[in-house]
Amino acid sequence: MAAGTPVPREPLTFAERTYLPQILGGLKTTWRHLVTPKTTLEYPEQRPALPPGYRGVPTLVRDPHGREKCVSCQLCEFVCPPKAIRITPGAIPADAPTAHVEKAPQEFEIDMLRCIYCGMCQEVCPEEAIWLQNRYSTTGYTREEMVNNKARLYELGGTLPDEHLKWDRKKAAETAGNDRH
């Protein structure tokens, strides 16, 4: 039909004006829904299948050696739109085996009452240390409880596989006498 052509409006037939055929049709439809199996997921018992790439609660992860990945560059703190992240940077002691990393967070807090699960922290992190994982339900009785501290973030995050292990490569380059990797 050409654009702008008005749709012809037929006057209602007698049957239509009684409403009854339409109501019967509607009753048939709702009856069909009444007898078909229910589609609801009964939540606490049944959990949804999460798709890959799901953005749940942000967590801190360790590398396969069990070492802390975060270097407290605070990029996630700066990028975080609702300002949910608060990092207290700290130095790594010179005698530690990972002294060449220089910095690690002393404290790392994510306020889950502010977090909007946008995933920008994960996107911005140069160390791939912060990940939004599959956990989607957080509850607590107080506001303080809803702030995940560093220990809690590592507990939630666990260890993820790492393809780069860039600090190992840096260490190797350093020991090979090439400090500009």
Partner: protein, 386 residues
């Protein structure tokens, strides 16, 4: 036991009957509200309320789980909530009438129930005798007369609330109920014209209508819904309007009137309106069943007396009047509950009519149709019974 009951003073008897009505109608109102939630859920593809369960029921292996899934304990949770909630009375209302309105809503709802026969048994002479709290001769007339008082509670609630939306709701309710009362009454006249053949004692008794539908023969055993489909249709539609059910719930109309006449009400007073609505539905369905669906007769052309004969042949104990009475009540209740399900089914199927559509339908379509129907059956009955 019967003798003991009959020896009690009439006042105590009446009190017992009243208590019986309250003890039956309130739980049925509660169960209906749960059924409403369940039916709406099923129609919308949800399982509906299915969580509440007291621990001692959870210990019962299968039944407990089944009742929990059915949402039976939500009935008690909902009812209990009503009782224990704070019951605020807004400062701007007329307190006396504000409190009176829900009470007035309950009165016709509970009174009409008493005049509706709900079962029958075979007495010593093999005569089918109706069961009812008050078997009055004017039967249907009493039901209509008292049921139409129900609108006063809505008007009173709307007026006493002293705010816009309840007032509009009350006005709408009164206009709608007056409009549809006419069609309601006119649509049942052919039934009584047919029942009151010339030469017999005139009656408006509902039990007599059922008796009429249980006669032998093709025409005698036929339910009135087949004999007078148009009358049944008009009665049904008017019933929807009279009980303020979808698609005619103009008085509530939450989209345009917030909550209509009960906007300012809360807690138990609101609950009373709710129970009254379901009681009206129950009485309406019962009257429809008695008039058009053969009352306590299980199937068209299969009257209760025949079934009683079969039961007595099966086992002498099943032929006992009490057994027959229970069977008849079960049959009657099944029909009434099926009708109530139909009410709910319709509610969750179609949207609400616009107010002007409701008025136009009532005055310009339903009323002429009811009158034409009456004239048609007047002529037909005059020719048939000449």
């Amino acid at each position: 036991m019967i003798d003991f009951y009959l020896q009690l003073p009439p006042l105590v008897q009446g009190l017992l009957k009243g208590l019986a009505v309250i003890c039956v109608i309130f739980p049925i109102g509660g169960v209906c509200s749960m059924a409403e939630r369940k039916v709406s859920a099923w129609i919308q593809g949800r399982p509906g309320p299915n969580r509440a369960i007291p621990p001692w029921f959870a210990w019962v292996p299968f039944l407990g789980k089944f009742l929990q899934r059915l949402g039976l304990f939500h009935v008690m949770a909902d009812g209990g909530k009503m009782l224990f909630k704070e019951d605020p009375i807004p400062g701007h209302v007329n307190k006396f009438y504000f409190v009176l309105a829900p009470v007035l809503a309950m009165m016709p709802a509970l009174t009409t129930v008493t005049t509706v026969p709900f079962g029958a048994y075979l007495d010593a002479r093999g005569q089918v005798t109706p069961l009812g709290l008050a078997n009055v001769d004017i039967g249907l007339l009493a039901v209509f007369a008292v049921a139409s008082l129900g609108v006063y509670s809505l008007i009173l609630a709307g007026w006493a609330s002293n705010s816009k939306y309840p007032f509009l709701g009350g006005v709408r309710a009164s206009a709608q109920l007056i409009s549809y009362e006419l069609s309601l009454t006119l649509s049942v006249l052919p039934v009584f014209l047919w029942v009151n053949a010339p030469g017999t004692a005139g009656t408006m008794s509902l039990a007599r209508v059922v008796e009429f539908q249980s006669q032998p023969g093709f025409l005698g055993g036929m339910w009135f819904i087949f004999l007078m489909p148009v009358a049944a249709l008009v009665f049904m539609i008017s019933l929807f309007a009279e009980t303020n059910r979808h698609p005619f719930d103009m008085a509530e109309g939450e989209a345009d009137l917030v909550g209509g006449f009960h906007t300012e009400y809360g807690a138990f007073k609101w609950g009373l309106f709710f129970v009254a609505e379901y009681a009206h539905m129950l009485v309406g369905s019962a009257v429809f069943t008695l008039l058009f669906l053969g009352g306590w007769n299980p199937l068209p052309w299969v009257p209760l007396a025949t079934v009683a004969g079969w039961l007595a042949a099966l086992h002498p104990l099943l032929g006992h009047p009490i057994a027959i009475g229970l069977v008849s009540i079960a049959i009657f209740l099944a029909k009434v509950l099926a009708l109530i399900f139909f009410f709910m089914w319709v509610r969750w199927t179609i949207p609400r009519f616009r107010y002007d559509q409701v008025m136009e339908m009532g005055w310009k379509k339903l009323l002429p149709l009811a009158i034409a129907n009456l004239v048609f059956y007047m002529v037909a009955i005059a020719i048939l019974q000449r």
